[in-house]
């Protein structure tokens, strides 16, 4: 399947793409979001406390990918070189040069050279200031954006898979499967999600995958109703009947004939699930039950903004980044919805 070559698209998909582009706001949002996402995927090359390339003694070194000891550059210790250290920098610059990333801090780099106590206000060295542990806010935002979006995407994909499977089974088999499935979902969705998440995350030390798993327990229900309704409808479509008359088995019917129908509804919902996932992660981080301490996270930055009201750059920058991500995703979602709208011919 050549998904990315429009020439092989069906006319229906071409029309959808045209409709998507017609929604200018959504289309530009997609461009901006993709740019931000792809850029932050390479966050290590943009914001890091190590240079991208070091030329020393006619030889090239890549500190981001390899660890070099200080002695490599003529220093004293066998530990990894601290390139931000003035002594090491001098050693290297004597016999070569260093190419630094745009931001000379990683998300966990502590700036010991602050002239004021942390949190420091924006300055030439720290463009958006530092947080209360003297870490650069720009670097943390870049990494935080990446982890939020990646987490959101992972959660969206997994909960869509579970949701589609459950919805498909309920819609296809109907009867008792549907009855009990629906009742279970009603009970399950009645649970107070945030409290349960808080309780569960306090049992274990949550990392990225633990959090994903725990949140998945409650986030898969969003799509079930849509997919179930779509399957219930598709069950009686004539081409589905025709496929059964040809002798196709249940699995084949579900995959080749009914799933594509449900995919439209699923794709339309996905951007909104993504925004929901990002918000949930942020609120958990804000409460301190999210990603492990030290991780770059937008929620944690907001919490810092709350505790350091005298440092408005913390709350403001986290707020702006979050607002931008969510707005972009909602605009994209609207455009996707337009693209799949059958009334817009």
């Amino acid at each position: 399947m050549h998904i990315f070559t429009p020439s092989s698209w069906t006319p229906l998909n071409k029309r959808r793409w045209i409709n998507f582009r017609k929604n200018k706001r959504g289309f530009y949002s997609l461009i901006i979001f993709s740019f931000l996402f792809v850029t932050t995927l390479f966050a290590e090359l943009i914001a890091n406390d190590k240079p991208v390339v070091v030329s020393y003694d006619e030889q090239l070194y890549f500190p981001i990918f390899n660890t070099y000891s200080e002695t490599t550059f003529g220093g004293d210790f066998l530990t990894e070189a601290d390139y931000r250290d003035e002594y090491v920098a001098e050693l290297i610059n004597e016999k070569g040069w260093m190419l630094w990333p745009l931001v000379r801090y990683s998300y966990d780099t502590i700036n010991y050279n602050l002239e004021v106590p942390a949190p420091a206000p924006p300055s030439n060295a720290n463009w958006l200031g530092t947080d209360d542990q003297a870490r650069d806010v720009v670097a943390r935002l870049i990494y935080g954006f990446r982890i939020s979006v990646l987490f959101g995407l992972a959660l969206t994909i997994f909960s869509s898979i579970v949701g589609v499977v459950v919805g498909a089974l309920q819609g296809f088999y109907g009867g008792k499967v549907d009855l009990f499935g629906q009742r279970f979902i009603e009970i399950w969705s009645g649970l107070p999600v945030l409290f349960l998440l808080i309780i569960m995350t306090s049992f274990i030390t949550p990392n990225f995958w633990w959090l994903l798993g725990i949140m998945l327990l409650f986030s898969w229900m969003g799509l079930v109703d849509v997919v179930r309704a779509e399957f219930l409808r598709a069950r009686n479509l004539e081409y589905v009947r025709a496929a059964r008359a040809l002798g196709l088995d249940n699995k084949g019917i579900m995959f080749t004939h009914m799933l594509p129908n449900a995919m439209v509804a699923t794709l339309t919902f996905m951007p909104f699930i993504l925004t929901g996932s990002i918000t949930t992660l942020t609120s958990l981080d804000f409460l301190g039950f999210g990603l492990p301490p030290g991780s770059p996270s937008l929620g944690e930055l907001i919490a810092q903004g709350k505790t350091n009201l005298h440092a408005p750059w913390l709350g403001a920058s986290a707020f702006i980044v979050l607002a931008v991500i969510l707005s972009l995703l909602v605009f994209i979602g609207e455009a996707v919805r337009d693209a799949f709208d059958p009334r817009k011919a």
Partner: protein, 560 residues
């Protein structure tokens, strides 16, 4: 109407008939994205006072578009009228304001639509819906109604008017039906209510857009008779849009034949039918499926027999989940079918003919005995039955719904071959090409998608899909109902040839007696899930025994 009045009109007609609506050089364009589609091209029509003008044509000929342009019913943003005018009482309807148009719609020109099922609001009683259309245009009554609104009562004057209208359109016991909701009425009754709404303000013109297409034949006749008698009583002019020439011949004074957005021929009905000038008109008039099926080969073995097949759906269940009442969709149906034979199943909607067909293929659960090629298939589960699927195929009614829009026709036809592991890749390609050629399609087009084909071509694709498996039995569930008359004839001929060539048995389900006659050896008439009569085709058509069969034949053959 007094006799003076009539004679005066007659005199006028002799000199110069009064024109009610005159359409001059009308073109209608629709914009779809950047494309502009000209749906109606340079159409001129005259509707005379008190007459019926029929606009006939096949689907897509622009007949409905023309009629809807009269009432400006097209979405404003998408439609444009490059040329032409529509004169009604001297005013050009294309130029008047929305407010003026609203005062004409429903008051001066009424309209009834094809689908009575969706044209009525399911949440309101028929009294409310009819009185609404009265109130919209009758200021006096509207003021009275506003006064009475506090008491939440419909003013008596309106109530009387509604009852009068329901009487007029022939709804029995109208007083009791006032509070009925649309779902409590039959299809014919709904169409009557629609007519009552259209007539509420005694319009001068009634536009009937395929008013009977969605109805059963016996009901069709009643509704058309009703329109005709109302026209006489109220002195209306009627624009009747139809694809059915039998109806037109019987009910219209003049006819306009449309083809590809143009009026290719128009004139008095008798003239057009007696001596059509255009070849296309002639083709339309003589498009009824003709001929009889090829004889069944001698000593054909019986391949399918059913005994007392029941398809019951649970209607009521007791508290403990035990079913206490059933909807008997098909009851005690026994048939016998030889190889190469066609059994026609005839009945009105809801008679259970499709249900029975689906049950034979185990697409619906049923009880009773079904024996296919000497083997009992009733007790088998889906997996065990799969090997039989190859021999028993089905073609559905709706050629738009029965082909997956996401697969190319090559993939659609290949699906069955893949399921049953027939041949290798190259072999399958050859089988598919042969099948496409056999059903009269260009094999070059096999990588296109269904939406690129017309209704008739799609039905051919569906037949090809069934054919590639070399089945012994094909169930044809109204395969021609969604097609234009001229295309129907072609499909019938194709089916007949395929049967003669491969000796396939058909079960042909249809409500259209002309098509059944052209294709069936045996005919079974069904009503409300029961067999009414079962006999050879000749016997049924020439000497029906049951009254129901006679009524059915009369309604269908009444026009010709």
């Amino acid at each position: 109407m007094s006799s003076e009045n009539t004679s005066e009109q007659l005199m006028k007609e002799q000199v110069n008939k009064d024109t009610q609506i005159q359409i001059k050089n009308l073109s209608v364009c629709f914009s779809q994205g950047e494309n502009v589609i000209e749906a109606v091209k340079d159409v001129s029509l005259n509707l005379y006072k008190g007459e019926t003008l029929a606009i006939v044509g096949e689907s897509g000929s622009g007949k409905s578009v023309t009629a809807q342009a009269i009432l400006a019913l097209h979405p404003k943003q998408k439609v444009s009228y490059p040329t032409g005018e529509i004169l009604f009482n001297g005013k050009d309807l294309l130029k008047i304001s929305d407010a003026q148009m609203r005062s004409i719609r429903g008051a001066k020109i009424g309209m009834i639509f094809q689908e009575p099922m969706t044209s009525l609001n399911p949440l309101h009683t028929i009294e409310k819906q009819i009185s609404e259309s009265i109130l919209l245009h009758n200021k006096q009554l509207a003021i009275a109604a506003a006064d009475l609104k506090r008491t939440k009562k419909t003013p008596l004057a309106i109530k009387h008017k509604v009852i009068e209208l329901l009487n007029l359109v022939g709804i029995p016991n109208p007083e009791e039906r006032l509070n009925a909701y649309p779902h409590q009425l039959s299809g014919g009754q709904k169409q009557r209510v629609m007519i009552a709404m259209a007539l509420a303000n005694e319009p001068e013109v009634l536009i009937a857009d395929e008013p009977t297409t969605a109805l059963d034949v016996t009901v069709q006749k009643q509704v058309l008779e009703l329109i005709k008698s109302l026209q006489k009583k109220l002195g209306m002019s009627v624009i009747l849009i139809s694809h059915d020439l039998n109806i037109v011949k019987h009910y219209a004074d003049s006819v306009a034949v449309m083809h590809h957005g143009r009026v290719i021929e128009s004139g008095a009905t008798s003239e057009i039918f007696a001596s059509p000038k255009e070849a296309y008109t002639e083709k339309l008039i003589h498009s009824d499926p003709k001929g009889i099926p090829h004889p069944i080969p001698e000593k054909s073995p019986v391949i399918l027999s059913s005994e007392k097949v029941n398809v019951w759906f649970p209607k009521k269940t007791s508290f403990w989940g035990k079913t206490t009442d059933y909807l008997k969709a098909a009851n005690d149906i026994s048939i016998q079918l030889k190889a190469g034979e066609t059994l026609g199943i005839v009945g009105e909607s809801g008679s259970g003919k499709t249900t029975f067909g689906l049950a034979l293929l185990k697409l619906l659960p049923s009880t009773g005995t079904v024996i296919f090629e000497g083997q009992e298939i009733q007790g088998l589960n889906q997996a065990e039955f799969r090997s039989f699927r190859r021999d028993m195929q089905i073609v559905f009614q709706d050629p738009y719904g029965s082909l997956s829009p996401r697969m190319s026709i090559f993939q659609i036809i290949e699906e069955g071959l893949l399921i049953h592991n027939i041949s290798d890749k190259a072999g399958r390609e050859k089988i598919i090409i042969d099948a496409l050629e056999e059903v009269g399609l260009d094999a070059q087009t096999r990588h296109r998608f269904p939406h690129e084909f017309s209704g008739g071509q799609r039905q051919r694709i569906a037949i090809a899909r069934a054919l590639v498996l070399k089945p012994k039995l094909i169930i044809l569930d109204e395969p021609t109902s969604a097609l234009d008359r001229t295309v129907q004839g072609q499909v019938v001929e194709l089916l007949r040839d395929i049967q003669a060539k491969h000796g396939i048995a058909y079960i042909f389900i249809s409500h259209d007696l002309a098509v059944v006659k052209a294709l069936s050896h045996h005919v079974m008439v069904m009503k409300q899930g029961q067999i009414v009569e079962q006999n050879s085709c000749d016997e049924i058509f020439n000497s029906p025994k049951e009254t129901y069969t006679k009524n059915l034949l009369e309604a269908a053959y009444f026009y010709s």
